[in-house]
Subunit: 195 residues, 2 copies
């Protein structure tokens, strides 16, 4: 009844369905069925499907980055925080409903055809990249490393989705560790590469 509640229910249904089956495969009537929010209300809250899609990506972005930050921030050491990103990816990949990166998927589906969706994807990836840069900077490591870790993380997301496996997170983590060590000044801890 409360508009705010209906909005959250609509977004809950949108997230489950859009993420699980893709956007174009889900009709507004499916959203209604899954959310219990009538079509009339849906169109009051979101004047077109595209608005609902953008709102879904926005809310998921906040939650996704929140969960990531919560995980990494629980580590003391700055360098550990950098590597914890990949541990967290592994936990994410292991979630039973994991189906790849919502933004990469949306971009593949609508990036060429909906500018608002494309911009949402760019904003999310920009923010993720910025977050990595912060972690890397806190560890006293150069910004170049952040860009490289970003590529590893994106590659892990794609590969985990396609191969339906969480293993790419660990693989990316091992590569990340090697890069971190390669960039570290005066590397005195001496763990040999790759083990």
């Amino acid at each position: 009844m409360d508009s705010a509640v209906a909005r959250e229910q609509a977004l809950d249904a949108a997230e489950t369905l859009f993420y699980g089956r893709g956007i174009q495969s889900v009709g507004m009537d499916d959203i209604r069925g899954a959310s219990g929010v009538s079509l009339k209300r849906l169109y009051q809250l979101f004047p077109a499907k595209e608005h609902l899609v953008v709102a879904y990506l926005e809310r998921r972005d906040l939650r996704w980055r929140g969960r990531l930050a919560e995980y990494t921030d629980s580590h003391e050491d700055a360098r550990q925080r950098v590597l914890a990103v990949f541990d967290w990816l592994g936990e994410w990949f292991r979630e039973p409903d994991f189906r790849g990166c919502a933004w990469i998927n949306s971009y593949g589906e609508l990036g060429a055809v909906s500018e608002p969706v494309a911009e949402q994807v760019r904003a999310h990836k920009r923010a993720f990249r910025k977050y990595l840069e912060g972690l890397v900077d806190d560890a006293g490591l150069p910004a170049e490393l952040a860009g490289q870790l970003h590529l590893l993380a994106e590659g892990a997301m794609v590969t985990a989705a396609v191969e339906r496996s969480a293993e790419p997170a660990a693989r990316a983590g091992r590569a990340a560790r090697m890069l971190v060590e390669a960039y570290s000044p005066s590397d005195a801890n001496g763990a040999p590469a790759g083990h």
Copy 2:
């Protein structure tokens, strides 16, 4: 008139349109208009749109891997061949109609909803990974490295698409060089990391 010619024309149109605008945004009638192949003929050659999609991905897979191999094989040194992969990615990203990886895009759009398409994507990524493993093995480097380079390459494709920039290829190439050097036994050439 020749069936084989019509098939190629249909696939040409499918490739341009599906890759450029996404699959669900392109109707069979668009394919007809762009190819000059009548609907009747189209449905003789491909009994359903899904077959056309799979055939498009199959043919593109052969060409894509062919072009990659042609480029890397032109390098003498085995280790150079490994790194040449990222140079080639840069050339690909700079093509004016570049719009990301066709398979990643298709997976995001239809992976959850069409098993044949999902399997096509898995097959392509498996073959790409296998190719990297061959290059890495020829250079006397461990298979683990191939997996890591694969993640870098996938990440570069995604990021180049979203950011509409070819720069991720160079960044991935720098990371790849560092990993190759880290894995190299008795590293006597001594180029310091990152420059």
